[in-house]
Subunit: 505 residues, 2 copies
């Protein structure tokens, strides 16, 4: 795999900017804002995070680090523990960084992933000083060809005073041509984003940049970290089954064709498993307009059921990743990678009429969803793109297992301890027990349907009891404020949300 | 004002469909879905609500009633008390209907106002059987010219099997030409909505319809109900002052010009007062892209500071309404009324880069906003368009008085009892005490700033105390679940959120 960089730096002068990670790291000053490539572990920088962390240990460097989404290679944890990360946005998924965030030592700004660069360009956030970008090549005109994700990289590059390119020799040049770079114009006189079909290309295949701003090039040679999705299990298969059955009903009712509507599926084990479930379905001619492509997308491409997939990154298990990198040409005509601003843009999501499938950490009887905060306080990952999709989708589906921690937690509770998605943005809820179609229902009707269809039997009577007593107290959205979080408090105190800890057989 | 209808029904055959409200009301069958015109009291039907309520009393008729937003003439309360209203969406603001909703007797579906007709067309809601539409004229080709609002009327008309027109002779024909009717195409192959400036016209000036579907025409002769906004007071003036000062800072920092960005202002006394505050500002060349135009808009048009206003309805006090109706020609070139789907569309709001100013019922220390549910349970009005604007705005500003009910309630609480807008959608918070600029901050920083700048002094120490103890317990968004709603419970029990009821001097 070790290759020369000659066919990858096609701009004569730039070759002289090749340097070591340490020298590149010396460009940074305290409190700078840094825009890094990387989206759910794909296309992240492999060398600079380490070099910057060493500077933090040596001279106390602190940075405001922005990315596309989460980084791989445990970079996020390593940088945080070194004390490098003063501020972090817009998403993360690292256990050690999470710890620093929850301890209040890292200021984390959790954002809708379509909005970060919009806010940057509007001046609502401090501007990016330096962009660090993984690339597979630099073209004759200096333009940068990203690797396995686009994320926020194009806008970071557009805004940064200086750019550091990490040229990754381990990434096949065959990836060139996969990207479609488009940055919306300035407001208030912006033109419509011209994208009207999932497969349409509206931009350039590389990130345009004045080569003078490329301050350093660092050579790297390692692939992305693999995803750590768990394989489908009995419960996720049941959830997938309910979703497939529901969608079949939509087709039967004439509300969509067997091609469905463009699909979005969130990160994580459960959403991946639901999409995997479509492999056994009779849907055909499907398309994806999503944020991350996981293993399930490639299964559907391989089965021929999926005709095209658009996203901002590709995050795969080791085996699927290998297969993809070795066969990029086979997939090329059916894939495009876009900036996350475009993959998640409300304008496009609403225009295309997407079926959005995202995962809830917990949800309440009215269908408000918590995707981020354990016990209402402790950040898990972040809201990611779930809000961009759920708000604007043709159908917004949320999936979750009905319980967590071996049944000690009910994922459906009287009131969620943190709201990421309000009931208005949640059309369908599915657990392994069943699916609740909430379209057009009032809150009291939503509650009855969710309790009836989705709650684990161990918690069903408890929820009926809460709901009935709340209704007696009245209101459009009945609640008993004195008990709304009693389940969470019970879990904190006794290790279970159950009223008496039931002996498991 | 009593005029003949001859110049208002320009289609020869249709004249014969003129009938009484009672006969028109006989077209309805039980459980039908009815789409009514009307948006925040403007352009609502004046005759059919009464005739339908009488049917409910006589033969128990029950309907699923959809509108643009709230109705005037106390129609909503009257219909609800007659037992006519089985289901109601997407917004209301009537004390008697509110009571029925909160008692669980009317199933109310509270919706983002841009989404109702999208969901109708997608088949996610039962289709409209009959549309009842206030009009000022019916053209030669049968197309319907709406009155003081457009709301959801165009899509209701497009979908309904039968249409009843209420031809309102009290509305001046001068309103003709004010409207711009555009309905987005079907998904997934929809084209971009071509609107790129506030004043652009992209549709037709009347609602196209096959005249055969116009089943009845009823003549009416009364104007809209006036708005009941209270005049600005010391507190709302202070809030307006903080917002104007903040926007001046944005201009000074070069982030916008003195024309600002297109403005949206929510319904109600406070948002109206904030906009009124702009009259004394030095901003000029401003535009509005809003949902409702209130008195303040006309003050700004009259002062010459506002060059153009786009909305879905016009809801005014009696005096301003009179002035407007008598001088439509003076305002005509600076106004347009659009379907609420377009006035509130995420695609357009995001494209134009709107400054959104909406009102919170309560907000919490992290800047999550409750706009709808008193005590977490009892519906006030509905989310309206606030979510459409706040989510997609260039700047999302929420305003509120720091206390309600003579200081017995703090509008800023440890945790909101219901979330309509998550912290991600709230950039700026202002009360009479000050303004908190939350852009780019992490939750802990947001809390410190909100408590410091916006909270009433009577509650400030209590909130600092809660916040500090919550931080000690940890988390990205620190909370003490056992106390999160203690203030609300104290108010319910003792009539005040204060720990000891302080003697007011
Ligand atoms: C919500 C989310 C964390 C679920 O991830 P997942 O891998 O599908 O689901 P899992 O069931 O494996 O849950 C992940 C963890 O949360 C825990 N968990 C699940 N429900 C829980 C609950 N109600 N309370 C506490 N913990 C819970 C699980 O036990 C598991 O913990 P572990 O890692 O210690 O085993 C993930 O989807 C996410 O971060 N979503 C937010 C971002 C997003 O939706 N993006 C979409 C656009 S890409
Ligand atoms: C939130 C909203 C009700 C505020 O209305 P307003 O007229 O500006 O504000 P007011 O301060 O007069 O408050 C209205 C009522 O709520 C009460 N109120 C305010 N804050 C309260 C709180 N925290 N708890 C309980 N009641 C509260 C007031 O006392 C007042 O009651 P009253 O009618 O009995 O006097 C109104 O803006 C709304 O319905 N918003 C949601 C829809 C929306 O934002 N649309 C925007 C796009 S158009």
């Amino acid at each position: 795999m070790r290759a020369t960089y000659r066919d990858r730096i096609r701009h004569a002068v730039l070759e002289s900017r090749i340097t070591t990670p340490e020298r590149a790291a010396s460009l940074f000053r305290n409190a700078m804002t840094v825009g890094m490539s990387g989206f759910t572990k794909a296309g992240d920088c492999k060398a600079l995070p380490d070099a910057l962390a060493r500077r933090a240990l040596e001279d106390g460097l602190k940075l405001n680090i922005m990315t596309g989404a989460s980084l791989g290679n445990e970079s996020d944890g390593m940088m945080a523990l070194a004390g490098l990360v003063e501020r972090r946005s817009p998403f993360q998924a690292d256990p050690r960084l999470r710890q620093e965030i929850n301890a209040g030592r890292v200021m984390f700004t959790d954002q809708h992933l379509s909005e970060t660069v919009e806010q940057l360009r509007a001046g609502n956030l401090p501007p990016v000083d330096i962009a660090i970008v993984e690339a597979i090549a630099i073209r004759e005109d200096g333009s940068i060809v990203p690797s396995t994700s686009v994320g926020n990289t194009a806008s970071f590059v557009q805004q940064a005073r200086q750019i550091i390119v990490e040229l990754n020799l381990a990434m096949p040049l065959a990836l060139e041509g996969l990207h479609d770079i488009y940055i919306p114009g300035d407001r208030p006189s912006r033109e419509p984003i011209p994208l009207t079909t999932v497969s349409q290309r509206i931009g350039t295949s590389a990130i345009k940049v004045d080569p003078d701003r490329i301050a350093a090039i660092v050579l790297t040679d390692s692939v992305d970290s693999p995803s750590n999705n768990l394989p489908p299990d009995e419960q996720t298969q049941a959830i997938a089954g309910h979703v497939v059955e529901f969608l079949s009903g939509e087709v039967a009712a004439g509300r969509m064709t067997p091609a469905l509507m463009p699909l979005q599926a969130g990160i994580g084990t459960i959403a991946n498993a639901v999409l995997h479930g479509l492999v056994e379905s009779s849907f055909n001619g499907m398309t994806m307009y999503s944020e991350v492509l996981q293993d399930s997308t490639f299964e559907l491409l391989d089965s021929g059921q999926l005709t095209f997939a658009s996203a901002s990154s590709i995050t795969l298990s080791e085996a699927t990743y290998r297969k993809f990198l070795d066969n990029v040409d086979r997939y090329r005509s059916r894939l495009v990678l876009r900036p996350q601003e475009i993959s998640n843009h409300p304008e496009i999501v609403r225009r295309l009429g997407i079926i959005a499938i995202n995962t809830a950490l917990e949800l309440d009887i009215y269908g408000n969803v918590n995707s981020t905060h354990v016990n209402g306080t402790h950040m898990m990952n972040g809201i990611g793109g779930s809000g961009d999709f759920a708000r604007n989708a043709h159908l917004s589906i949320f999936v979750t297992k009905s319980t967590a921690k071996n049944g000690a937690i009910s994922s459906i509770v009287p009131m969620v301890t943190h709201v990421d998605h309000t009931e208005h943005d949640v059309d369908i809820v599915a657990t392994e027990w069943g699916l609740a179609d909430l379209r057009g229902l009032a809150p009291r009707e939503r509650a009855a349907r969710i309790i009836d269809r989705c709650v684990h039997p161990d918690y069903r009577d408890m929820l009926w009891d809460y709901y009935r007593r709340a209704c007696a107290a009245g209101g459009h959205t009945p609640h008993l404020l004195s008990e709304a979080f009693a389940w969470h408090q019970r879990f904190s105190n006794s290790g279970s949300m159950q009223e008496r800890v039931v002996q498991t057989a």
